[in-house]
C-alpha cells in the first residue's frame, strides 16, 4: 500500500463526507398520528428516565383464511442522551410463516424543526438468535439512534403478514420506559369471537366496535430495574388474546386450546413420534445403566450422558416446536432443549422407565399463568420421569394421574438429577402426557437442599500473620454456582478466581492449594484451599492485635443499597453455615468480642456467635433464606436484615497482650 499522504487522507475523508448526505433519506412529512403524538404534552419524569413511549399501537386483522395482517405504529420521545438508544424500529418475523411488507420511520427533531425520513435503504435485516446454528426468526430494524437528540420524537410504522400456528396473541403494554398510550386492536371476520386474559394489571376490558375489539392502557409509569426484583415480565401489564372462528367455519384453521389438556394433547402428538429408538440407541442406554442398581441410578446414568451432549439449536419450520428424532440427536450428539429431553425419553424408554416432556418458561418463574391455556407461554423444555416410591428427591412432584414425577432439566449440565435450576423452581409448567397432561407447579427445593457449609481453621501468629485452610461443601443450587464457576473456567483461571476471592478478605494472601472436587452426580461440590497471609491482623502500638474473624466473604452477597424501592424483593432458597476456628497467638488474651447476633424473620434467619475455648476463638455464622417474594412495604425490614448481617461480619476481634 503506498504511503497515505495528507492529500490521500483528505481525499478519503472527502469520499466519506460526500457519501454521507447521499445515505440520508429524503425529507418527508410524517403521518398525522406521529405529528399529533409529537406535539402532545407529556408529563415530566425523573431525570433518569431516558425516553417515553408516546404511541404503541397494533391494529391486527385476521382474514377468514387465517392470514394475519398487522399495522404497527410506534412513537417515542427521547428525553436524555441515553434515550437515543430507543430511537430504533424493530420488528420480528419468521421467514417461513411471515413477512414484513412495509417498514417506514421518521425522526422529528426537537421542536419540530425538521424531519428525517427512513426508507427501505435504511432497513437492517438480522438474525434474531445469533447463537443458533440456524433459526428462521429474524428482525428488521431501522436504527436512528445516531441521528436523534434529546427532545426528538422517533416514530415508525410497519405492515406485516403472518400465519400463526395458534389463534392466540400476546400484547405487552410496556417494557421499562413509561408509556403514554398503548393500544391493541383485533379485527376478526364476522362471527368470530375473541377473549382476553390480563396479566399484571386489573382486568382490561376490550372496547368492541363491530368486529373490532380494542384494549388500551394509558399513562404507565416507568419500571426501573432494581436488584432482586421480579422480572419485568411479571411487572409490566400484558394481555393474552385468544380468538376462534364462527361455529362451522372451515376446519384446518389455526389451533385453539380450551384447556391445558388440549395443549398437552397437541404437544404430545407433535413430540411422541420423535421418541424413536433403534438398536444403537437402545444398546447405549443399556450400556450406560449396566451397573446401575436402582431406578435413581439408571436415571442418573442416562441424565449425565444427555446433559453432556453439546447444546446446539437448529430451528427450522415446525422444528421450533417439535424435537428432532431421538436417533438423529443420538447420532449427531447435539441438540437443543427439546432434543435433549426427547433423547432422554427414548433412552429411559429403552430401560423401561416412562417419562414425559415438560414445557416451561426459563427466566421468570412467575411468567406462566394458569388462566391462559396456550403453548405460547413456554420457551423451554425439560422432562418429567415417572418414578417408583423407592426413588426419593426434593424435585419429585405428585401428579394427579401420572403419579410421582421426578422433574429434571436435561439441558442445564450444571444441575444434576434431584435438583432443578432455581429460575425454574416454583413456576407453572405443562407436563405433556396426552389427555392426562396438566399444568402443574414445579417443585421448590428447601434451603437445606441448597446449602454451603464452610470450615475455616487458621492459626494467628503474634505478628498478625495467618496460616490456614478452608473446606467448603456445597449442595443443590449452592453447588451449582460453584460448579458453574469451576466448569466455565480453565484450571489456571479458576485458581485465579479463588485467589482473588481469598485476597479480597486477606490482602496479599498466598494460596498454596486449591482442590475443587465436583461430585455432580450427587449434587455436591467441595473445595479445599490452603493459604497464608502476612499482617492479617493489625498490630496496634505493640499491645493490641485486631482482626476480622469473617476472613473470606460469603460467595453471594445481597446489597440492597437504595433507601427506597418500588418493587418486591425476590429471594431464592438457600442456606449457609460457617465455622471459623482461630488458634490465638501465645501471649495474647481476648480483650473484646463483637456482640452475637440473631435475626429471625419470615423470609430468613441469621445467627452469628463468638466463643473462646481452649486457646481458640470460634466464630460461627448461619444464614437461611426461604424462596420468598417480599412485598415492597417490607423493604426496610429486609434491607435492615442484610445490613445488620453486613455490619456484624465486618466487626473485629481485639486481642490484648497479656
Amino acid at each position: 500500500m503506498p504511503y497515505r499522504s495528507f492529500m490521500f487522507l483528505l481525499f478519503c475523508g472527502a469520499l466519506l463526507f460526500a457519501s454521507a448526505p447521499a445515505a440520508f433519506a429524503v425529507e418527508d412529512a410524517p403521518p398525522a398520528w406521529l405529528q399529533q403524538a409529537a406535539i402532545a404534552r407529556v408529563p415530566s419524569f425523573s431525570k433518569d428516565v431516558p425516553a417515553v413511549v408516546l404511541v404503541d399501537e397494533a391494529n391486527v386483522t385476521v382474514a377468514p383464511d387465517g392470514l394475519i395482517t398487522t399495522t404497527y405504529s410506534y412513537a417515542v420521545r427521547i428525553l436524555t442522551r441515553e434515550g437515543r438508544a430507543f430511537a430504533v424500529a424493530a420488528e420480528g418475523y419468521a421467514t417461513d410463516i411471515g413477512r414484513i411488507r412495509e417498514m417506514r420511520a421518521w425522526l422529528i427533531r426537537a421542536g419540530g424543526a425538521s424531519v428525517k425520513r427512513y426508507d427501505k435503504n435504511d432497513v437492517l435485516d438480522q438474525a434474531a438468535a445469533l447463537n443458533d446454528v440456524y433459526n428462521e426468526t429474524r428482525i428488521k430494524k431501522i436504527i436512528a439512534a445516531d441521528d436523534a437528540d434529546a427532545g426528538a420524537v422517533f416514530g415508525y410504522q410497519t405492515v406485516s403478514e403472518s400465519r400463526s400456528i395458534f389463534n392466540q396473541m400476546v400484547w405487552a403494554f410496556q417494557e421499562r420506559i413509561p408509556v403514554i398510550s398503548s393500544r391493541y386492536s383485533l379485527t376478526l371476520p364476522v362471527g368470530w369471537s375473541a377473549t382476553s386474559v390480563t396479566f399484571n394489571h386489573p382486568k382490561i376490558e376490550a372496547v368492541v366496535n363491530g368486529s373490532t375489539s380494542t384494549w388500551e392502557l394509558r399513562d404507565l409509569a416507568p419500571i426501573a430495574p432494581e436488584p432482586h426484583s421480579p422480572e419485568v415480565t411479571t411487572l409490566a401489564p400484558r394481555i393474552a388474546v385468544s380468538y376462534a372462528p364462527a361455529a362451522g367455519a372451515a376446519a384446518g384453521l389455526n389451533r385453539t386450546f380450551a384447556s391445558w389438556a388440549d395443549v398437552s394433547r397437541w404437544y404430545t402428538e407433535l413430540s411422541d413420534t420423535q421418541v424413536t429408538l433403534d438398536d444403537a440407541l437402545a444398546s447405549k442406554a443399556r450400556e450406560l445403566t449396566s451397573s446401575s442398581k436402582t431406578e435413581m441410578e439408571r436415571i442418573r446414568a442416562i441424565s449425565r450422558y444427555v446433559q453432556k451432549l453439546q447444546y446446539i439449536s437448529i430451528q427450522i419450520g415446525v422444528g421450533r416446536f417439535r424435537p428432532h428424532s431421538a436417533t438423529e440427536v443420538f447420532a449427531k450428539a447435539y441438540g437443543d432443549c427439546k432434543d435433549k429431553a426427547n433423547l432422554m425419553r427414548a433412552m429411559l424408554r429403552a430401560v423401561k422407565i416412562e417419562s414425559f416432556p415438560v414445557l416451561i418458561y426459563s427466566g421468570d418463574p412467575t411468567y406462566v399463568r394458569e388462566e391462559w391455556t396456550s403453548p405460547s407461554q413456554f420457551n423451554h423444555c425439560i422432562i418429567a420421569i415417572k418414578v417408583s416410591d423407592e426413588t426419593q428427591a426434593p424435585t419429585i412432584v405428585q401428579h394427579p394421574k401420572l403419579g410421582r414425577l421426578l422433574i429434571f432439566d436435561a439441558t442445564d449440565d450444571q444441575t444434576p438429577v434431584g435438583d432443578l435450576p432455581d429460575h425454574e423452581q416454583g413456576s407453572f409448567a405443562l407436563v405433556a402426557a396426552g389427555a392426562d397432561g396438566t399444568l402443574m407447579r414445579m417443585p421448590v427445593t428447601p434451603p437445606e437442599s441448597n446449602q454451603m457449609e464452610r470450615q475455616v481453621e487458621v492459626t494467628l501468629a503474634p505478628d498478625g500473620s495467618l496460616t490456614g485452610t478452608i473446606h467448603e461443601r456445597s449442595t443443590g443450587q449452592s453447588a451449582v454456582d460453584e460448579r458453574r464457576l469451576f466448569n466455565h473456567l480453565s484450571r489456571p483461571e479458576y485458581v485465579k478466581a479463588i485467589e482473588e476471592w481469598i485476597t479480597r478478605g486477606a490482602t496479599g494472601a498466598q494460596v498454596s492449594k486449591v482442590e475443587p472436587v465436583d461430585q455432580s452426580a450427587d449434587g455436591r461440590f467441595t473445595l479445599d484451599v490452603d493459604f497464608n497471609a502476612q499482617n492479617y491482623a493489625q498490630n496496634m502500638q505493640n499491645r493490641l492485635l485486631v482482626f476480622k474473624p469473617a476472613i473470606v466473604s460469603r460467595r453471594e452477597s445481597l446489597f440492597l443499597t437504595e433507601p427506597l424501592r418500588k418493587h418486591p424483593v425476590v429471594l431464592d432458597s438457600n442456606a449457609y453455615t460457617e465455622t471459623v476456628r482461630v488458634k490465638l497467638p501465645d501471649g495474647f488474651d481476648v480483650d473484646e468480642l463483637p456482640d452475637a447476633l440473631k435475626l429471625d424473620t419470615a423470609f430468613g434467619n441469621y445467627a452469628a456467635s463468638y466463643e473462646v475455648k481452649e486457646g481458640h476463638l470460634v466464630f460461627t455464622r448461619k444464614l437461611t433464606l426461604h424462596a420468598t417474594t417480599i412485598p415492597v412495604e417490607q423493604y426496610s425490614t429486609v434491607r435492615n436484615f442484610f445490613e445488620r448481617i453486613r455490619s456484624v461480619e465486618l466487626s473485629p476481634v481485639v486481642l490484648a497482650k497479656k
Binding site: 500500500m1 504511503y3 497515505r4 499522504s5 495528507f6 492529500m7 487522507l9 483528505l10 478519503c12 475523508g13 460526500a18 448526505p21 440520508f24 433518569d48 436524555t80 442522551r81 441515553e82 424543526a113 428525517k116 437492517l124 435485516d125 438480522q126 445469533l130 446454528v133 445516531d146 441521528d147 436523534a148 437528540d149 434529546a150 453432556k308 453439546q310 446446539i312 437448529i314 447420532a331 449427531k332 450428539a333 447435539y334 466455565h488 480453565s490 485465579k496 485467589e499 482473588e500 485476597t503 490482602t507 496479599g508 493489625q538 502500638q541 493490641l544 485486631v546 446489597f559 443499597t561 433507601p563 473484646e592 463483637p594 445490613e643 453486613r646 455490619s647 465486618l650 466487626s651 481485639v654
Partner: protein
C-alpha cells in the same frame, strides 16, 4: 469525544485487509484433496502438549494464502483440534465462518468439510445439509452472512478437524496480518504463502513478538513458514496492548531490495513534507487571524499558547461528543479542503483543527510540521521496522528554539503542552524537506496527572460517617474522566458515580451530587457530593474501629493473583493526594492514631500517610500521598511481578490501616 484521529479512513482500509487473516484459522488443502491421515498417537493423546491445563489444543493449524495472478486472494484453512475436557468440547463444537459483503469486500466461502474422530477411531463427517447458511445482517450495501455448523459427536478425547476456502475477489495480500496464536494453544502453525508475481516488487514478512520467520520454498510457487508450541493468547489486567503481546506477522510488498531504516525514514519524511506543505500554507485570512490572535504576545510560548487557545476555543470539532452540535447539524457539515476553509467555517474535525493550528503557526513565523506517530494503545512503535504501516499523521510539531514541541489542539481535552497518553512516549517522525528526524514525544509527569481528593466528615457514635467530598482530576486522569462522561446525560453521570462509590462501600448514600467541567478543555474534572455511610466505623463494646482512608475503603489489591504471563503496563504515571478530616464522636477518644509506614519503590513509587489530631483531639486529619511511575512509559518486565505485586499489596494493607477510638472524654480546649 473518543480518541479519533486524522487517520480514521485509513484505519478502515487497514482493518479490511486484516480481516482476512484475523477471521481464520487457515490452512491448506486445495479443494478435492483429502484429509491428512490421523496419527494414532494423536488419538491416544491424553494431555495437551503446549499448555498443561488447556481444554483443547490445535494439533496443527495451516493456512494457504494464495495471492496468485488470478486477481483474487484465497485463504485455504485447515485446522485439527484435540479436545481434552468438557470445556474443550463446549468451546470447539460450534463453528461460524462469516462471509458476504463486508466493507466493500465480497468474501465467498467454499469447500467446507468437517469431521469428528471419536476416541475409538470412529469418524463422523458432516454432510452438506449440516452446514447452514444464515444471514447475520442484511442492509443496504452490506450483507454479512455466516456458514454455521456443529461438529457431531464431540466428546473429550475426540479430534475435530475442518477446512474451507475463503475467496476475496480483487484483493491483495499486501498488509495482511497473519496470526500465530489462537484462543487455544497450537502445536504447529504453518502458513503457505504464494505472493503476487509483481515484476518490480517482492513480498516481505515482519514477525512481531516471535522468532524471525524463515521461509521454505514449496511447490507451485508457495513459500511456507512454521512456528511450533504456540501458547493460547490470554488477557490479563494491566497488560501491554494486544499487538504488543501476540505473535503475529505482517506481510507486504515492497520494491526495495534492502531497506536501510535511516534512509527509509528520511525519504518518507521528505515525501510527506512535500505532500503536506501546501496544507500548511496560510492564506491571507489565516495570516490576518494569526496576527490578530497573537496581538502583543512576545515570547514564542505566549504566541503559540494564544494560537492554540484560539483554535480550540473558536473552531468547533464536529467529531467531538461535546461539540453541542445536533445530529442534524453534524450531518450537514461540509468537508474542509484547506485551513482557510476551517477558519472560515469555524468548524472541522480534529485533523482540520490541527492543520489550522499549524498554518497559523506558520503564518506567525514558526516552523510547523506534520508529525507521523504510532498509537501506543495499539503497539509500541519501533523505527527499526522500516515501514509506514503503524504511523499516522497525528500531531503538529513546532520548533521553539532548538526544540520540537508537540501539539494536538484538535483533541479537546489535551491542554497546551500535553498530548493524549496514546501519543506520549512514542517516537514521532517530524517531517522535513531535508532531514526528517525521530523525536520522542514527552510523557506527562505523574504530578500533572493528579487526583486530589478532600473530605470533611463527622463520625457518629454508631459508626456512621457523614460529610462532604470533593475530587478533582487533572492531566491524563482528567482526560479519562472527561472521556468517560462527556457522552452521558447528567442523570447517567450521577448514576455512574453512585455505582462507583457503592461498589466498594455498599451502604453509602450520596446526595447533592455535582459533576463539574465534564466537557471543559482546561479545568479539572470535579466530583462533589454529600455522603452518609452507616456502619462505616465498626463498633465493639468499648471501641470504634475507623479506617481513615475513606477513598480506598473496600477497594481490593491491584494485583490479586500470583501468576502472571505478560509484562505489566500502565498507560501513564499518576499521583494521588488525599486529605480526610473526621470530627470524632463525643464520648470517644483516640486510643491510637499511628500511621502506616511510608512505602517507597525508588523512582517508581512513593506512598506516604500522615495522621494528625487537632489540639482538642476532636478532629482527625488524614493525609495520603501516592505517586507512581517514572517519567516515561511504565512497562515492567514479568520478572518484576512479585515485587510489584508485593508493593501494591503493602499499599492496600496500608490503605486498610485502622485506628481505634475508645470510650472516654476528650480534653477540652480553653
Amino acid at each position: 469525544m473518543k480518541f479519533l484521529r486524522i487517520y480514521a479512513c485509513i484505519t478502515v482500509i487497514v482493518c479490511l485487509t486484516l480481516a482476512a487473516a484475523a477471521t481464520a484459522p487457515a490452512a491448506l488443502l486445495a479443494a478435492g484433496e483429502d484429509w491428512k491421515p490421523i496419527d494414532p498417537a494423536e488419538l491416544a493423546l491424553k494431555a495437551p502438549v503446549v499448555e498443561k491445563d488447556a481444554d483443547a489444543e490445535a494439533l496443527f493449524w495451516e493456512v494457504r494464502v494464495d495471492d496468485g495472478p488470478v486477481g483474487e486472494l484465497v485463504f485455504t484453512h485447515y485446522v485439527r483440534i484435540k479436545v481434552f475436557t468438557e470445556r474443550g468440547r463446549e468451546s470447539q463444537s460450534k463453528i461460524d465462518i462469516p462471509f458476504g459483503k463486508i466493507f466493500g469486500s465480497n468474501i465467498k466461502i467454499k469447500d467446507i468439510a468437517a469431521r469428528t474422530i471419536k476416541p475409538d477411531g470412529t469418524i463422523i463427517e458432516i454432510k452438506k445439509d449440516d452446514v447452514f447458511e444464515r444471514d447475520i445482517i442484511k442492509a443496504s450495501g452490506v450483507k454479512l452472512k455466516a456458514k454455521s455448523f456443529a461438529m457431531p459427536g464431540v466428546e473429550p478425547g475426540s479430534i475435530i478437524e475442518y477446512r474451507w476456502r475463503e475467496v476475496r475477489p480483487n484483493e491483495s495480500a499486501n498488509y495482511t496480518r497473519l496470526q500465530f496464536q489462537r484462543d487455544i494453544p497450537v502445536q504447529t502453525v504453518k502458513y503457505y504463502i504464494k505472493p503476487y508475481p509483481f515484476p518490480d516488487r517482492s513480498m516481505r514478512a515482519q514477525t512481531f513478538h516471535g522468532s524471525v520467520a524463515t521461509f521454505t520454498k514449496e511447490k507451485n510457487g508457495f513459500y511456507s513458514t512454521t512456528m511450533t508450541n504456540m501458547p493460547a493468547f490470554h488477557e490479563e489486567p494491566h497488560m501491554p496492548p494486544e499487538n504488543q503481546v501476540r505473535t503475529w506477522m505482517l506481510i507486504y510488498y515492497t520494491a526495495e531490495d534492502k531497506i536501510e531504516p535511516q534512509k527509509f525514514w528520511r525519504d518518507l519524511g521528505k515525501r510527506v513534507y512535500d505532500g503536506t506543505k501546501s496544507f500548511l500554507k496560510p492564506n491571507d485570512e489565516v495570516k490576518k487571524t494569526a496576527a490578530t490572535v497573537i496581538g502583543d504576545a512576545t515570547t514564542p510560548e505566549e504566541k503559540l499558547a494564544r494560537l492554540f487557545n484560539y483554535v480550540r476555543d473558536n473552531i468547533k470539532n464536529v467529531r467531538d461528543d461535546a461539540s453541542g452540535m445536533s445530529a442534524e447539524e453534524i450531518a450537514k457539515v461540509k468537508v474542509n479542503k484547506s485551513p482557510g476553509d476551517t477558519l472560515k467555517r469555524g468548524m472541522g474535525d480534529g485533523s482540520d483543527i490541527d492543520l489550522l493550528f499549524a498554518s497559523l503557526a506558520t503564518a506567525a513565523g514558526f516552523d510547523a510540521r506534520i508529525v507521523l506517530l504510532a498509537d501506543r494503545s495499539d503497539i509500541f512503535f519501533d523505527p527499526g521496522f522500516a515501514n509506514p504501516y503503524f504511523l499516522r499523521p497525528t500531531d503538529v510539531a513546532v520548533k521553539v528554539g532548538d526544540q520540537w514541541r508537540f501539539y494536538n489542539p484538535g483533541y479537546r481535552y489535551a491542554p497546551m503542552g500535553m498530548l493524549v497518553w496514546q501519543e506520549e512516549g512514542q517516537e514521532a517522525l517530524v517531517t522535513d524537506p531535508k532531514e526528517p528526524v525521530f523525536v520522542k514525544t514527552p510523557v506527562t509527569p505523574a504530578e500533572k496527572s493528579l487526583v486530589r481528593r478532600t473530605a470533611k466528615f463527622t463520625l457518629s457514635e454508631d459508626g456512621t460517617l457523614e460529610g462532604d467530598v470533593k475530587i478533582e482530576y487533572t492531566g491524563q486522569l482528567g482526560i479519562e474522566k472527561k472521556e468517560e462522561h462527556d457522552d452521558d446525560s447528567p442523570a447517567a453521570r450521577e448514576e455512574a458515580l453512585r455505582s462507583q462509590v457503592t461498589s466498594h462501600m455498599s451502604t453509602a448514600e450520596l446526595s447533592n451530587i455535582r459533576i463539574e467541567n465534564v466537557t471543559d478543555p482546561v479545568k479539572p474534572f470535579v466530583y462533589a457530593y454529600h455522603v452518609r455511610v452507616p456502619g462505616y466505623a465498626e463498633r465493639t463494646g468499648k471501641r470504634l474501629f475507623l479506617r481513615p482512608a475513606f477513598f480506598q475503603y473496600g477497594v481490593g489489591p491491584l494485583f490479586p493473583t500470583s501468576e502472571r504471563k505478560t509484562n505489566i503496563y500502565f498507560h501513564y504515571p499518576w499521583s494521588e493526594r488525599d486529605t480526610v478530616e473526621i470530627n470524632l464522636p463525643a464520648g470517644y477518644v483516640l486510643d491510637n492514631a499511628d500511621a502506616p509506614a511510608p512505602l517507597s519503590a525508588g523512582k517508581t513509587g512513593d506512598y506516604k500517610v500522615r495522621i494528625a489530631v487537632t489540639k482538642d483531639e476532636r478532629t482527625l486529619i488524614y493525609n495520603r500521598s501516592f505517586t507512581f511511575g517514572p517519567p516515561d512509559i511504565i512497562l515492567f518486565p514479568i520478572s518484576t511481578y512479585p515485587a510489584l505485586k508485593g508493593y501494591f499489596d503493602m499499599l492496600n494493607k496500608s490503605d486498610n490501616h485502622t485506628i481505634t477510638l475508645k470510650q472516654g472524654t476528650a480534653k477540652t480546649t480553653e
